[in-house]
Symmetry: C2
DNA sequence: ACACTAGATGAAAATGATTGTCAAGACCGA
DNA sequence: TCGGTCTTGACAATCATTTTCATCTAGTGT
């Protein structure tokens, strides 16, 4: 009985997501899918992403509005990213120190089943230009 | 010209928030205010909380649904909290190591104006009872 | 005390991501 | 091939938060 079933929709979602080099929202992914032939229902995109999240195959961050953004994860352990508030570019950071710190937290606080989310943001070098004004060359690359 | 104006509504929001020992949502705060004589419009509660946030007078966390929760901050520097997923109890943690780590991140990555949010959750000791069943004594304290 | 105006209020409507519904369709083992 | 289970997707429903906009007011200057 039962198991996760292989369907063209899920395949499409995973493939399209895999092609994305930056974090994308469910809505954006849905649009991308619609654009490239394979139209998948928005509801299905949400469900697929949630499944991928549970399966640990994607990293999830929330932007300032609370919207969830997904990125296919290369490794098998969770990561944290530094994301540019201007252009959306993301860069994985080495957070092993934080991971260790978080782990230790369980022992010192008496809390169990610890979980953590760490959102890092800033302004990347390319996005930092002299005086303002300039509408930023490659205007808003991506999200 | 210009400035923040002192109004009874803002006073009420700040006072009521100050009385809360745990994180509360804007909606909850609005209900509390309505309960205790001073009725303040929901919109105003939202605006007041946003202002308090900008002023750095409150700590803000987002629960798993993305809803924002506020707690009046005792000190003048930001803090991180470990929050129980069962009862909502919160406990400030010493995150100086993480703060230092985050600070260093700017130098190594070239990103500027770094910001970070760190959400920690777990299950507190009182919420961990033998086998399930028992509806947990002080059933759901708070949120 | 009075007038004046940038700020502030709040009821109601809009927004927008996410989830629930449920009938119709597809996968896969027997 | 058959049937039960898992999936899909159009659409409606949620729900926190934001906009709108007409009305009010704190606070400054006269
Ligand atoms: Zn950038
Ligand atoms: Zn981590
Ligand atoms: Zn607890
Ligand atoms: Zn911090």
């Amino acid at each position: 009985m039962g198991g996760v079933r292989r369907t063209p929709q899920r395949t499409a979602v995973l493939e399209t997501l895999g092609r994305c080099r930056e974090f994308v929202s469910a809505q954006e992914l849905h649009a991308l899918l619609a654009g490239g032939g394979s139209a998948v229902g928005l509801t299905t995109v949400y469900r697929a992403l949630r499944a991928l999240d549970r399966a640990g195959l994607v990293d999830v961050v929330r932007d300032e509005t609370g919207e969830r953004l997904y990125l296919r994860r290369p490794t098998d352990e969770h990561r944290h990213y530094l994301i540019c508030r201007r252009c959306g570019r993301s860069q994985p950071v080495d957070a092993r120190d934080v991971e260790a710190w978080a782990e230790r937290l369980g022992e010192t606080t008496g809390f169990a089943e610890l979980e953590h989310t760490l959102e890092l943001s800033g302004v990347c070098r390319p996005c930092r230009r002299p005086t303002a004004a300039t509408p930023n060359g490659a205007a808003d690359a991506g999200r």
